[in-house]
Symmetry: D2
Subunit: 322 residues, 4 copies
């Protein structure tokens, strides 16, 4: 019997992907299916939901985020995507979190309000990145405005310094944010500054979720107290990552590390090709059989040989029996 | 009689702000007036047009750009702003360039098409900056799509590396762009890499405009062959910069330098306070008497003492008789 | 009884600071004592050795590194410092690793050879940072040259991207380095890219040490298989970090996390003051009672009130009975 | 007859490379000749001096700087190089400026003192870049210490942000520096922030030299009042740049621009190959016939085909009759 103390969640909770009090486990950042002409292809979303549940064992999704190219779509398109996911996930998934961050506050509020109407289970908001907020207070004011448009939904701050270039510490943004935004429910921390993440964990409330968003370093964040993870790799490595969560929860760090290092091997290989959302999207089509289509400009379609090479590496590292 | 050869434009052209074949001289990047509640305050735009012409001697404007917080508004708001400027500038201004860049290609095309309908004289497009184009070709494909929605309007590429974080060379983006985008008419170069700017100049076509967008370094760009400038400082230093253009066109580099250094002194002072669009907007209200209101989040209003200190410095450097 | 598998080292090994086959546990990066006039004050080194052993429980040191301001001293000064540490640590410490990295290859070889003559137990080498090596191969060639001057000593690569600005992955530098440098014995990884660190661990040989050098994130690296740590905080938090190592080795992640978060709280506080080697050095003088003197230019002495404030926070977070 | 006012220097002065009151015109940053085994090859320096005077028309040199790989040599080697240049340039060159910047203050002082003894005409000092000075005052204190070791020599601050990563404004470092360092005689400004350069010019004393160090943007700096230039390209484009200086001094900006753009074309071509000091050094050997040898590690020798391709482009852009 293990004496390991993971602190925030019990082994059983950690291995589970079902929501109890607060959201835990794996949350898959979904791609947005497009037709070959680059228009929304909503018909793929239903099968996509079933695939995630059946093939990957994930029951929580994060839509219209970075992986979903949310920033590249119009407000109207984002609404249609969010609505379809909520519709198809109903009674199947545990949680649909809709990302509503934009450069324009009005647009974000519009999307937040829409998320309520379509039955989302929460909203996520990234910092605007053209005008970068100068202080944590400026960003908190912005986030508060967005949250006010969805007063009944759990609110998650989406911290993504590499894309936004925003240098504010997540811990400065989040500390005591529940007093400003009553629905504040946690952070999707997609950075690599684990001291900042550690401070987020330490000063969080018990009902807040600490999701880590850098899949290839998840084990480190688990050691620091992460509740779960939001990431794109769970689209095709969901069951693998569930094993990692279980190994960690059981105190088997050797196994957790082995599982984590396999993921790193895949990404180290893929990064030689310039692994971005476009490559990732094509790889997912190749691996899942779902037809996700091309990315939208300014992303450019991945050359078939690139995704094929990465897919081959995937199959080598993660053979069927694995 | 001066023997100075400035190359691209004659002294008379340079001093003029009227359009001849291609756009030259000063183009003011306008602020967007808001009410104290943060909503559009279109009623200020009419007086704003008159002020620019009468007090600053500028007859070309660039609306919904960085200075105008275009990225912070919804598509609908941007349309209303563009429409009002076009309406009020009619028969008064020479050119209204509408910036239509967005993160979403669909939104940009929508705005480009709208610019045609409201009688704009050109459109400007910045690179999307959340997903950064990886190659000049990717960006060119994006720009081409936007331009196709306004096939009758001159098209300007807006190069702004400090805000967008896009590392592509403007010269790589622009070289031969007229073969891809028939309406390609020039670049608003708001970077400090003068080698890149030099290459833009050298490989430009005669009917293309090379606008420099870093006001405090304009003299350097003039030496490299800039046709004119797009900037925010012309809101309250338009007549001063017109003198600089004239001094340069007359071959009086000593005077041009003296005028340029005064601008640098003002900015060096202002930068100690963190000079951003918010401070700049309040400063313009203070100096012009126009009521431009606050910026929109995530920008936060400038403390009154900050703009007052900068305004005082302005009056000291640029006394009325100057 | 714990079933935790830490993989590379057993709990007993991890808690131990003694060398077995390869170096494990805590390695303190020492400060270099100066007189108030800024000259070497070698007389402090003897008491410093005793203090580290008795008060902090550390038996391994890394001298003339970043903490020791090695780069700021002349070759002659560095030799005198290295010699004194080796002399005073003899029969008391387990390992004295001498950092011999310089901008000049000749100087590094000179220092490497000297390290042999004074009885050091290993050498560490950082990448030159003025001319940054463009490829891992270029850096490996450089390191090989340095190592050849100390063919009898274990060789450690010191990876410090934040100071050097060198963007090469440590895993690309280290993979198979034992075939190029027979004495290659491990890496001091002072970066925050844990995917890179994970790849270092995965592709390391059993006799190589994986030291982590970002003290405030050590727990994350332990989860990834770090053998130990090289850091400056062990100067006054050595016994605290030894508790952290023991907690981790015993599978008590809750306790390990609690101990790690205390360190983060101290650094979060200190970073508001601009925590650098100068502040750290004065803090060490304040906490240890050793007279380490000022830093050398271009570092400037820490204001007494700064180190006093940090020292007060230290005593608050780590009360004597802790 | 031109009415151009260049302000700081008359056309005659600008075209001249001879020193009058303060140093003006072109200063060539020299490479350091090595044998094929990588040791100093001092015998090449005599012919190098004659080549620069006869073939390139330059009479001022800057030795042991970035181009000269000063940072990669030991103090002893740097002394031998400086001595040889001073010896061979005597009665031939107008000025030999010896760069004495190091990471170690003691080494810099040692080199500064040595420069006096070998008859140098000035010293240049770059900021230390491992420990980056946090404030202009810290850097000024450092520079003061170095200058004090060569109290009879003109002192130049060498501003090179891209290599050092030091973000301090040169204008903040230099303003009033003559009150701290009586020998302060100017700046070698090798950055691209022309606002900062403009402030250096405006607040400089009449006896101080404002050298620009980004050769491909020199015309811009001349417009801002630069006295001259320190650069590596003058090794093989000295006579070309002298024509540029003359064209500028005569008020012929069209010609100056044409000459500047040719240089940019060469560098744009070369930069596709990763133009660094190693490539530059081999190119100089190819073009001059001098045998400069390889660079020292961590720079790696330039592949022959690379320098050959750049040399071919050079001959195409600058045909013999040009």
């Amino acid at each position: 019997m293990s004496t390991l103390q993971t602190g925030r969640v019990s082994p059983t909770e950690m291995a589970s992907t079902r929501l109890t009090v607060n959201l835990t486990g794996l949350v898959t950042a979904t791609f947005t299916p497009l037709t070959s002409e680059g228009e929304l292809n909503l018909s793929v979303i239903g099968p996509y939901v079933d695939y995630l549940i059946k093939d990957q064992g994930v029951r929580n999704i994060f839509v219209n985020g970075t992986t979903g190219e949310g920033m590249s779509f119009s407000v109207e398109e984002r609404k249609r995507v969010a609505e379809e996911w909520c519709l198809r996930a109903k009674n199947k998934m545990d949680n649909v979190i809709v990302h509503v961050g934009c450069l324009s506050l009005k647009d974000s509020k519009d999307l937040a309000n829409h998320a309520v109407t379509v039955g989302a289970n929460g909203i996520g908001v990234i910092s605007p990145s053209f005008f970068k907020p100068k202080t944590a207070d400026a960003l908190r004011s912005y986030l508060k405005e967005v949250a006010s448009a969805a007063p009944t939904l759990p609110f998650y701050y989406y911290h993504l310094p590499s894309y936004t270039g925003v240098n504010l510490l997540a811990s400065d943004v989040c500390k005591g944010l529940e007093t400003v935004i009553p629905t504040f429910s946690g952070v999707k921390f997609s950075g690599t500054d684990l001291m900042d993440f550690g401070q987020c964990v330490k000063y969080s409330q018990p009902n807040q979720s600490l999701f880590f968003g850098v899949d290839e370093q998840l084990l480190a964040a688990l050691a620091f107290g992460a509740n779960g993870a939001v990431g794109s790799l769970f689209n095709y490595l969901g069951s693998h990552f569930n094993k990692l969560l279980i190994a960690f929860a059981q105190g088997d760090l050797v196994r957790a590390r082995t599982l984590q290092f396999k993921v790193q091997d895949l990404l180290a290989f893929a990064s030689k090709y310039g692994f971005d959302v476009a490559v990732n999207k094509q790889l997912m089509s190749d691996l899942s059989g779902l037809s996700l289509g091309p990315p939208r400009l300014p992303l450019i379609p991945c050359p078939p040989e690139t995704s094929a090479a990465v897919a081959q590496k995937y199959h080598q590292i993660f053979p069927p029996e694995d």
